[in-house]
Subunit: 200 residues, 2 copies
Amino acid sequence: MSPRIPAENKRLKEERKEEILQAAAKVLAYKGYAATKIADIAAAAKVSHGLVYHYFKSKEEIYLALADRIGQAAAALRLSLAQPGAPREKVRMMLERMLAAVRDYPEHYVLAVQMMTTEGVAPAALEKVFTGGREGQEAMAQVIAAGQAAGVFRPGDPRQHFYLLYAAINGLAIVQAFSRRSGQMMADVSAETIMRLIEP
Amino acid sequence: MSPRIPAENKRLKEERKEEILQAAAKVLAYKGYAATKIADIAAAAKVSHGLVYHYFKSKEEIYLALADRIGQAAAALRLSLAQPGAPREKVRMMLERMLAAVRDYPEHYVLAVQMMTTEGVAPAALEKVFTGGREGQEAMAQVIAAGQAAGVFRPGDPRQHFYLLYAAINGLAIVQAFSRRSGQMMADVSAETIMRLIEP
DNA sequence: GTCTATATTTCGATAGAC
DNA sequence: GTCTATCGAAATATAGAC
């Protein structure tokens, strides 16, 4: 008989959970919370729908787990602002990373947009997504303010500048997700282009 | 006894239908298709849910009617491109109108975004929204190309320029809708600001 | 034209076999 | 750990009273 290897078992369990979660991200992003059946997630992850309930207590728990993950990713992005450098360069780096995330994990942005526009489903989810986001907002506003002092950004409320950049990134995520489905691809956009929105 | 006035009756019927449709737009935009119950729409329109079925065959029919309306509104926007004027001025006017629409009918943009990112629900809905949109796309691309020839816009595929502008507008619609709910308002953005994305 | 009551379906969640 | 079978709630859509 093969001996029990708890560590190995645990790893396998984590992997299964991870597989289900990644499958759920795609299905939830492109079908929406309410329209997504547990059966859809199970099918995408190639397991039975009973097994999904073995790993997650409910559909909502899956959604919240994803919100958590997105919030953490947003918080991680912020780190690029802490690195030394001129304000313009910091903002450029930040935008570059966000654009890379849009390219590599479009589902995350689509989910975030969904959470922003959908009421009821995501009261707690939003909180998770934006605890990472709020601090990033603050940090970004400070860097923008520094850039304004140096004359590299236009005058005005730095937080409004941030909203503008954020809106542009989210808009790109949507249009890009859509353009993939509809055939005609949208070309990648550079951080420099986005930054024009707040330059003198 | 009051005589039958068919014209009057027809008008009332149209009004009821219109009321239900407008109520549906708001509920659907902020709850999403699947999460919206007929009862929600009925409550928003202050009628019984049975009456909703009297005017519309199904939830899907309501959704398609809204898609149709949004598509027509998009087509109407295009008219500003047909007016005489320099390319830059035409694009500015177009953006101005789109921004006004975002301000006045945010539900429409939120719905359009939903239709763009949601699969399954809206195969036919998308078609309706974008038959108006496609032609507008073409017209816009031509004006942008003329502007490039005149040196007022950056070189590059004019259609990609259009996508970029379109993405920015949609992103604004989302962030603005969200900022309303979350308290901190996002300030209005000018057409000139958006246009910087494609200027030299 | 408008409402209330109900039939039908669908889906989230659980129980239990393997 | 994984699956199949099933319960029960909820929501779409319909029927019929007023």
